[in-house]
Symmetry: D3
Subunit: 307 residues, 6 copies
């Protein structure tokens, strides 16, 4: 049936080469057989459902009334928690301790985690309300709460983080990372789900912010775009192996402000009430009340620069 | 009907706790009753419609011809302006001066704003054409106008900004912020709708650019990724209250180039034709024709760094 | 039929003004008549299809088995290559050398390019596997390969880049740019399709990374967020015209690590095994084994800073 | 910009001719200005919502539990009644008595009708349950209640009819007709919303059934495919004008069975417990307990027939 | 990779058997190579576009105004005619006379047919307006023109027929049949596109109506559900071959009424102004002014009947 | 939060009344707990997938080539059989013999049924090819095989029936009924999945055809619209209980033709080669070669008739 208008692609060769390529990797990757993957679209729907249950008039259905709002919240919660339990079940398969667990055991465990997560939602909501109020008092351009709920990438990122962090603590790190990356892609703000962040946290603009896995942040902290709370990792480069999970990111105490582009690295402590200036590069602790800023840049004539 | 396969979530408790949490916030937030919110998806559709009306062969329907293009533009405009008027109506509710206005009054006002906005579109198109031409002459990698219209995040951001700025000036700041954040999420470029930007403006790469609410930028200005035109805000930190809306961002005069990562803060003026080097930190004005660059970085051996 | 409820928009005036604005630009832009544009949505679907064919169990259909996977891959490949050939055909129209080519000639040429591209896929897959393994060994927070395939923006960006680079080399730069910008929007990582990147390349976090058109990167290189491999372009500013396509971006040799925020500009060479510290600004070559870091920042009291 | 590949359609002429054609009809049709039309898709969604609220485990969300079902029903009801009120508002405009009514008056009236309709739903559900049980006992091929709820066109038609009839009685005949025609298109069963039908009504197969506007049907009646309960309308043909709305369709008393293809015309009464045979043509009343069947068909050789 | 949870389907055997089955049929069916098929979904969209262009306020966009309606109609027409030309091009391939035609020839011919079709639309609209008015005067239950446009299956069927008939006459019988079957599926009314039907035609209820390919119907004719205007085809059964396309269906003159279930077969003529009663079986011509009705049905006791 | 603009619906009362109504029915319906229902949309997708696998160039993907068609068929089959196995699993729950079966048992049984069904597809395809050829030779208006595959409701109905019948025989009557009703809704042809139909069966026009559960039809049979092969069920009406599943519909031997509107009732046999005329009513067997037609209708003047 082959003809001039549709010449062959040589599919058989490509398919066979790709199979060979897969089989090489599979040998190291599937010792235990096929595992269903959590679904990115599934997780996106779950986050949308949770946001709608938390802030039904802003993120949920239009025109909810006092009479209808609890029906909406109850129904949204239930269907979202069911979807979540299913994704948790898939994610649990990827934990080494569950390698040999039966399907029914994981299903039950997933339900329990989702149930516990559901009961943490009112507490998460209270934290998010504190973040929203921090944005309102922290940004001179903010007009009202609605603008902040709808237009602030920092609030969007923290909504995802606080949900992801709860899942991380409940023992589902893979789902938590999914949620974190969904927010990272939308906002340019990359907060590892393991990071512990106190109430009334505000990120302005946000693009390029990176907060590492073991960072600990106090209450009423404010950071701007391109701030990094990272790890010092040079030493390991020469060693060749990376130790996973140890405390390697900064501790930021209450009421600290960190301006745009500042980089703070390693398990250092930024004392309560400190102000870290823009573009500062900091790899040691500073006491409470410190004010750190970059040295003065010389202004000189120049004939070359960056694009 | 409850059975082992579907144990209870304890929904009633969560729903009731969430209601308690909402009611606390509502007391301060809804003194005037329910207000319909502008819809993010609605605004996304409006921007798509406006882009299609402005550049029908690139962003509109495929295969438009000379005979059909005006029908397409007319129809697209009309349906888009209608949607816009509806979103404007909702947004107007959030302005303090409209707190007590009747629905019919706001509907009429929204129509008038949308109508005026429609008549500004040819002028906005002319500015965008100047931006596109600036990209073509400003980027050595650009191959042709079509590549710029389809692939340049800076052009995408400026299309949104010029539409958002017009709405901002017409008195609909909330919708303008929506449009700004849609572009921010897609491009990593964060331009406050209040910023005033002259013709032939070009942003290359763009991720991390921040341009503040009261910035004023002249003609033929070029900026690269991670440039900040921000505010100096330390003083207010100790005062505890933020003054909203005063002029606090830079003025950049015609023909200035600002390279990647440069940070310019406060109501300073960058004189016409100046060149600001990459990563420069600048908090005072410079005269026309200045060339500012960063001091030399020492290169030293090191055993620790950032990840 | 006009009435009070629906006053007129004055559409006729706007439509006519927009036509006038278009006609001005058209005179310089369409000397050869209408050209069909490649479709962004089309390209997004093509990339999704290619990813599914390359990693069917992670990006393709759920629950593929040993029996079914080759049917899936073969079908996905064929339909994707057909879509690709169509988009290539459109893109070829934009190359100056094809200005006068007949439609049938371009269609045949597009098929041949798509076919050749298809046969490069197993090689591209091998490179991507090396990138994934580099991420696993390079990030202390990585838990397993699946997390990397699903959650790492650097892997997402490199998947797009390796596909885009192959198309770029096969003579379809416009499609390649499309793919690059789709990844840039999703990840904040901006890699020009022309950049040559060796195996086992790892980008962590990634927001703000810029890698220019003529950059050459060796094997086992690792870069962090906000790293720029850019061009020095001052000189050309005074000349007024930009030379397109010449070698103007860095060469990075094997086993180099470049930490967050470092900026390397111009056709310089970073010698094998070098480590470039965070925020370093570098415009000259360094020999193999170099370790370059930023000078110490003074910490001083300050009363103003950036937001 | 016109060229050989895209010759003109002559659109201007067609558009202008269509406008002329419209304007002729408009003169007689829009004396009161534009009226929003009810939306067919809107009505389809409303019926789907009502069916889900009535039979949540069969037509609603999968996997509802005792804990969640009331949240689901409450939320579904509320959002469906809101949509219904909007469609009712539009439909009310088409009643002559509302010709001059203000928009706010109609909105309020529409809300009240939708509210009353909502409170009739439990009663409608009870009637539908009786219809379903009648199908189970009336069809020797029926296996269980679920098959009847999911696969019986007669049940589908009656669900639509009982909802449509309630709206008809509440004074919204246009919406009721919409619902009737949606069911007619899906099942081939055409029941005018005005028809009054008692409990435990069963239609088997159903294609071609027609039940007229003023028909009255008792309890436990059973009809088969292609049964017509119609009007005798000859007389009016010679008169030239049709009297609208008078009683002109049959009364069918309790426990009657009407077999396939039977046609009963005019305001006649079929007495309780009668059986009307297949293909019977009946234009006068029959007493209770009658058994009517077609005369014997002769079997003869033939050389012509119908296709 | 095969495991217990996913046993094999034996796909290879089924795929190979299906290929064998296809190849047998292909030998007789594809002597000329692959031909693109018209798309059912494509035709559905075309009919929707044409209906919107013909009756923009009822089937098109909501809220069109005097200012915007022509833009809408022009744009809808143009994009619909373009889609139509593409489907015509595919359909032309199936005509024996086009077996050897080049692609460019068919494309040009398809454009010309679509263009001519476009210019017939105002005339088609005038016929449809006459049909709608006939429905209003012919049905005592009709409330207003809007109900008829939105809820009458006969009007829906005639809209499809009049469009299909125009395509049939323009030499695209396959597309015409598609349109006819789309309406048949939605309404149960099966009108062959070849049938010639005069103005002011009204079909009430409609389910089961069949009108054959060579039927000719005058003006102001009215038919009810289950009426057949068919062919006598017995003779051919014994002959074994069917002559295609000859005149074999009835001619129905002006002002005839045909009641439900009547069957008229063969090339007979029903004279002007005749009335044909319900369930009548008629295989010969009747003069103008005839009134034909079924003989009286005996009413007898019976112990068996149809379900 | 209640206000004048949004008065209450009284939801709580309706929700509670509906719950009471459900609980009454539930007591008799759910003695065994919740059972997942087969999904109508799921079954629609399965039928679409099966049709695509059987006739890939007509119902599957456009532009399949000799090289790609087996990949397409294999992939489509596999994903469709997987979906089918899931729906079968749900349907098995509704068979009384599976009331107590474990989930794993049913899953395994469902897989085996789907697998067996898959291996019957080539045989089903052969029957469908015979039906298509029968349509071509049986309808004087048929132009080519493609028209028949795309536009003939009889072919559409038989495709569904032959698939449904295979499932019925494999012990999944509920899914089979679903498929039958999907075809019934689209075509007006109602064939019970239990009916046994030989090869080369042709239904023309089809609206109103009903073929009962225990009917047996030979090879090369042809039927027209509104033909009923039904049961005589009078006797049971007086008895009050219906015996389910016994042989009660006609046997139609090879080469029989049954014209439009004919009704054949009860377990009678229509002998090979017989011709049954239009509208004939037949309740007893006829020998091979019979020709049965309706008695002559008297033509009389009349002043009343049906609408």
């Amino acid at each position: 049936m082959s003809n001039a208008a549709y010449p062959d692609w040589g599919l058989e060769q490509i398919v066979s080469d790709l199979r060979a390529s897969r089989e090489e990797l599979h040998r190291t990757r599937h010792p235990l057989g096929i595992r269903e993957l959590p679904s990115r679209d599934g997780v996106i729907n779950i986050v949308a459902g949770l946001r709608a249950a938390l802030f039904p008039t802003h993120y949920g259905a239009p025109d909810l009334t006092d009479e209808s709002v609890d029906y909406y919240v109850g129904h949204t919660l239930e269907s979202t928690l069911r979807l979540l339990a299913e994704q948790i079940r898939r994610a649990l398969r990827f934990l080494p301790e569950n390698a040999g667990a039966g399907d029914e055991v994981l299903r039950k465990r997933a339900f329990e985690i989702a149930r516990e997560f559901g009961h943490q939602l009112p507490g998460i909501r209270a934290l998010l309300v504190s973040d929203i109020q921090a944005a309102f008092t922290g940004d001179p351009a903010a007009q009202h709460i609605t603008e902040i709920l709808l237009c602030y990438p920092g609030v969007w990122a923290m909504t995802h983080h606080r949900l992801a962090h709860a899942l991380h603590r409940l023992g589902v790190p893979l789902l938590a990372r999914f949620i974190n990356e969904i927010a990272h892609s939308a906002t340019g703000i990359d907060i590892h789900p393991g990071a512990q962040i106190g109430s009334s946290f505000f990120i302005d603009h946000g693009t390029g912010v990176v907060i590492g896995e073991t960072a600990i942040i106090g209450e009423r902290v404010r950071v701007y775009q391109a701030v990094t709370l990272g790890a010092k990792s040079f030493a390991a480069d020469f060693d060749g192996t990376l130790v996973k999970g140890n405390a390697r990111h900064p501790i930021v105490e209450d009421d600290v402000v960190i301006y745009a582009g500042a980089t703070i690295l390693g398990r250092v402590t930024i004392g309560r009430g400190s102000v870290i200036g823009g573009n500062v590069w900091l790899t040691h602790s500073v006491p409470p009340g410190s004010s750190v800023r970059q040295g003065k840049i010389r202004e000189i004539a120049s004939d070359s620069d960056a694009s």
